[in-house]
Symmetry: C2
Subunit: 384 residues, 2 copies
């Protein structure tokens, strides 16, 4: 049976990228590989709108998060972590694994923290050196105002590092003109490639902090990774095939154009949200991200059964909730290589499976709503 992933990672991989994975392996200490690796890096820099080095780590996003944290801090340091979901909570867990003191700004799942709450936390914990944020919280579908929070933190002398795991490739992060000092993401989301690579980009303030940071690190030593990158290398054998995939996928995105990629995500997300609302269902997130649409499971409906029916009857794999949200939310991912037709497939399967499990609406409601939303969003001038 044909199946398509609409999970918030891994995401669908373009056929062109999959094809790149079956070519004979290339050695990494060659000019051929180095030129691909350099070009991949340049394309990622363009997408981030940065001149800073983008470091490629052979690790999943969580490994890249650990790298981003340990390279700017020292034993005894205090940090502030903003938590409103499973991934926000990860920052505090990493810091505590290294013996640091963590001050938390915690909001309920689905809600987002405000810059004012961050400002209060900084005032309450004047020794805190850095602020750790999640841009698009994959577990709840909420979008946090990381640029505004970073501005507050910079004014008080803190560094800000944001997890952009599900926002890279979805939003225009404009790293160099933001107050963010570091961003970190993984390969299996907006990059449209398999998992296995993690990325970190530091700004000048984070690099200055890295010179003095004394937390132990070897594999995740970013200073060494930066020095290697200048020679087109990595300190350790890279996941060659995944870097080749990254280059292929980033080339496709560059051909589409970065603004067009971001606009397409906005369109797809808006159409998905409109379809969900047309079914009478509430969005779970207070401020929804364009990466993943989280929806509260309606009373009387078995959420797990809907997810299974979507996959096995309609060929669309979405995600349910994780941890305490298990069975309570649906998560419809639309990060990466999806177009208008894919969104109709997604919301059509969602509506059909809900009907199968007792949440009846007039047939075609969700699909029609999404179709109209997408048609309006791409209307050429003069078309009604």
């Amino acid at each position: 049976m044909k199946r398509m992933l609409f999970t918030p990672g891994p995401t669908e991989i373009p056929t062109e990228v999959l094809a790149s994975q079956s070519r004979p392996i290339m050695h990494h200490r060659t000019d051929e590989y180095r030129s691909i690796f350099r070009e991949q890096t340049r394309l990622l820099q363009e997408f981030l709108a940065t001149t800073q080095p983008v470091l490629t780590l052979t690790a999943s996003g969580s490994g890249a998060m650990e790298a981003a944290l340990v390279n700017i801090l020292s034993p005894g340091d205090e940090i502030i972590a903003v938590e409103g979901g499973k991934f926000g909570e990860r920052w505090g867990k990493i810091a505590e694994a290294y013996g640091l003191t963590v001050h938390r700004v915690t909001v309920a799942y689905g809600r987002v923290a405000t810059p004012e709450e961050v400002e209060s936390a900084i005032a309450a914990h004047p020794k805190a050196k850095a602020l750790f944020l999640t841009h698009s919280e994959t577990s709840t579908g909420a979008l946090f105002p990381v640029h505004e929070m970073a501005k507050v933190a910079r004014a008080k002398g803190l560094l800000t590092i944001a997890d952009t795991v599900t926002s890279y490739g979805v939003y225009d992060l404009r790293f160099d003109t933001s107050d963010l000092d570091g961003v970190v993401w993984g390969s299996q989301k907006g990059m449209m490639i398999p998992p296995g690579l993690g990325y970190v980009c530091y700004g000048p303030r984070a690099w200055a902090a890295a010179e003095k940071a004394r937390l132990p690190k070897f594999y995740f030593n970013l200073t060494k990774a930066r020095a290697s990158l200048e020679k087109g290398d990595t300190p350790f054998t890279p996941a060659i095939s995944l870097v080749i995939a990254a280059h292929a996928a980033a080339s496709m995105q560059a051909a589409e154009g970065r603004e067009n990629v971001f606009a397409r995500h906005e369109r797809n997300a808006e159409a998905t949200r409109a379809a969900v609302r047309s079914l009478g269902l509430p969005l779970f997130a207070e401020v929804p991200t364009n990466a993943v649409t989280a929806i509260a499971v309606p009373a009387g409906v078995d959420g797990g059964a809907v997810v299974k029916t979507m996959e096995h009857r309609y060929g669309v794999k979405i995600a349910g909730g994780q941890g305490s949200l298990k069975g309570k939310i649906f998560r419809l991912g639309h990060i990466g290589h999806y177009d208008a037709g894919d969104i109709l497939r997604l919301v059509g399967a969602f509506e059909s499976a809900l009907s199968d499990h007792g949440h009846r609406v007039e047939p075609g409601t969700a699909v029609r709503t999404a179709q109209e939303s997408l048609r309006r969003a791409t209307a050429p001038a003069g078309v009604a």
Copy 2:
């Protein structure tokens, strides 16, 4: 131009495995993925002859080395590291990055240390908790007697961890009946898949030490990896496509039969060494490994030029020396998916390129010698 890798990693990848990489991506939180992951793990356990969990990390071999070290030690600990090449030196560097005290048993590049030298080092440093070894030193082509060294260490109460990066899949490591407490390797060598996965297997004594170890770790927390493995999972998103490759490649090796795989490596290495000797060239390593044959560059020959000619004129990519051995040795890799015909291709290209660069021998010497060595090694009963 057709090119084939005879580098000591990455190694050639079977076409069947490459083909597995272009299938649509699979989600990792599914029964389908879990059954592949479990089966991969079972096949690796069979190859190691162990009932202990084999942990799959999304990282290169060096990341797995760091994981193997930090999970059994605490701040202030002392270790002994045996060093006779670039990879042996890595253990001490990792330990020092975590502030540990390192006592080194150092031998010249190309030589191997003895169990007696290890015994003396243990006597001289009675506080040392663990011994770190390299089985097959990829940078020099030397094979260290890790099983005998581990026996000495166990008698004195030390744990022994061996880097088996280029010996996994080449030698029968027989983990459970050895005195080794841990082994660690990467995916791009004897496993015949691309780089990007690292593996660690601990024995019961290492797991007991892990309960008390206090070095910081998060991404490389092996206790969490073991708990996840029991559910067919990993703590973080795995490099799904590479795990699928590992399953495909390990299935091919299981079909060939583990003893046959090890015997084939022995045959290929022996034929390569015989061919090298027939050219009047000395092996660089005192005790050569069946993974990679290192050869001193003859006086008057430009080693770098030979490596380039082999690649560009004869379609065979080998490695030169690293660091201080640059230009001084050739390294002919024969780890993984190579048969008799591949070895003729390798030594034929080597002989031809040497001739091109002034080291003249009777044409066909190396190929004929390898051919005879391989023919004798596979002779059925009754064939002369």
